[in-house]
Symmetry: C2
Subunit: 338 residues, 2 copies
């Protein structure tokens, strides 16, 4: 083995192969490259180079008389090249977001949907778990027919609500007094503490124990939900648009794998670099072997970080996806960071 390096020309050829394959999903032959990309070289020359690249593990042949297909290693080289450069945030994506800024918790959902819609891939957003959430405000809003909406707001701005039954006698002023009392007593406490305190009260208190029970239940639910990373998925069946998944069994396996969110969470929660790209088997999720997962992190306050990602076939226009992700993570960071 005299020459082990990937020289500039090999790199150009490899890039051409990748770009052609991303477009067509068909093995790329030497003639195609010679015609469409490296017009100054003949197909024979390209063949020699391709042969070298195959030996180095960057290309593979589905069978001997087919063209070449880029390997995971090739995508990796290509993507690393992209990540070296500046990732430019996609302006279209940013504009898309700007229109529908709704600073409630469901920005994450909106972001996932926007990303899935624009990239035509599957998008995921991971919101990290938040331990030790402290109650900031607690309010009962009157509703018709002896009901009330119980709202809990935490110091991080998380909101959760539920409808509870209350005595018909309580009018809106009474509910406000109760709210104020409860907020005074409970503000600054963790959800855990709130549950404990209310458990104690509820056993003593007679008539309006229902309210306290409702609060305890909501606090419990809120604590449970916030104690684990949550993953939001959008555009899951975009995958059906790609020939890689023209087999229903594969598509089903993919969709089922998406439902089991643990692995996805794991992948998304170890996110140090601004962008990460997991290609093929690197992702360690079976049923997603020929997928790539491109992710970007964003701050959500208190030093925690969430992540947003796009899942599609390894054959993916990484540059576009990266810039869309850049825009999404930027906007999410602005909305959800401190």
């Amino acid at each position: 083995m005299r020459e082990a390096g990937v020289d500039a020309r090999k790199k150009r050829i490899l890039q051409a192969i990748i770009e052609d394959y991303v477009l067509t999903a068909l093995p790329v032959g030497s003639r195609t490259i010679s015609r469409k990309y490296e017009t100054s070289l003949s197909s024979a020359t390209i063949r020699n180079e391709m042969s070298d690249l195959e030996e180095m593990g960057y290309l593979a042949q589905p069978h001997v008389s087919a063209g070449r297909v880029p390997s995971h290693k090739a995508y990796r080289l290509y993507v690393d090249g992209l990540l070296q450069g500046e990732v430019r945030a996609d302006e279209e994506m940013k504009a898309f977001f700007a229109d529908q800024l709704r600073p409630t918790e469901d920005v994450a959902t909106a972001a996932a949907q926007a990303l899935a819609g624009l990239t035509r891939y599957t998008a995921v957003v991971m919101m990290p778990k938040q331990l030790e959430l402290r109650v900031s405000c607690l309010q009962l809003v009157p509703m018709p027919r002896g009901a009330a909406l119980l709202v809990i707001v935490t110091d991080t701005g998380a909101i959760r609500d539920t409808v509870i039954r209350v005595s018909e006698r309580l009018d809106s002023d009474a509910l406000f007094s109760i709210s104020r009392l409860l907020t005074e007593r409970l503000a600054g406490r963790t959800l855990q503490e709130v549950q404990e305190m209310l458990g104690a009260y509820a056993r003593m208190n007679g008539p309006d124990a229902r309210v306290l029970e409702g609060i305890a239940a909501l606090a419990a639910q809120m604590e449970k939900q916030s104690a684990q990373d949550t993953v939001i998925i959008a555009g899951s069946h975009n995958i059906l648009n790609y020939p890689e998944y023209s087999d229903v069994e594969k598509a089903r396996a993919f969709l089922t794998a998406l439902e089991e969110k643990e692995k996805l969470t794991h992948l998304l929660s170890h996110h140090d670099a601004p962008f990460m790209v997991h290609i093929g088997s690197e992702s360690a999720i079976s049923d997603m072997q020929d997928c790539a997962i491109v992710t970007a992190g964003f701050p959500v306050g208190r030093g925690h970080r969430g992540a947003v990602g796009v899942i599609g076939p390894s054959r993916m226009p990484y540059e576009k996806v990266l810039s869309a992700l850049g825009a999404a993570s930027h906007v999410l960071g602005e909305l959800l960071g401190e």
Copy 2:
């Protein structure tokens, strides 16, 4: 044509064919029926009967040497028979619901998910549009860092909220005073009126016009959403479990058709009988030609009716689906009716 009727034996045979076909999705031969169902008759006899049934339009042959497949007309006869009898509400389904009674608006979502999970088909819930919604209460809940959660509750118990920015000077008492004032002025008004009134105020009022604008925007959004029937879909990719959709193109067409909710809405909103079954082309949604849609209505108050439905291949265990739907509509009616 001497005898035009479907006598009892023909009916039994037809039923056997349908039930076998529902299980296997394979054309049913005369031998199968003679062996598994009508053991006292020979296959030749069954063949004669099947031939008659085919002539009457109840059966079809994919090709001459295959077994028979029930036609839409056959399903129709079968289903009409079922609908004559009592539809027993599925106890498992009911129990499932009882566990997670959450009387907020997302019961509809929960119902759809439960139904999709238990039937393994696609489930839809339609909530009818509500015109002339009147505000019952309006409340600002303090949030950290100069924000507030604005909650609007209507006389029907519908809730919508959004986060708005407010002056940092406003503490929870101030917000309550504003809430009380606003509720006094606006309670009983329609969402339309609220928007008009606030538009007028906001132009005059200086500093806290933001709050009024926020309310007007939320009222507008709420009015827009409630002015049209909304459809909630769950388990859309359950369809991939059935051989009818082993072709990716078909599956994709189906999923795309689901996204366009107008036709679905139309189908679900004309719901007079307690149960309705649309089979095949009856449903008039292309891309769902070999589907059946089974629906049940439920009351949502004010004389309006919502509907819950299950969409799957025509080959469907109608009895089970009907009883699951019965349970779902019963529970939804109890939670959402007056």
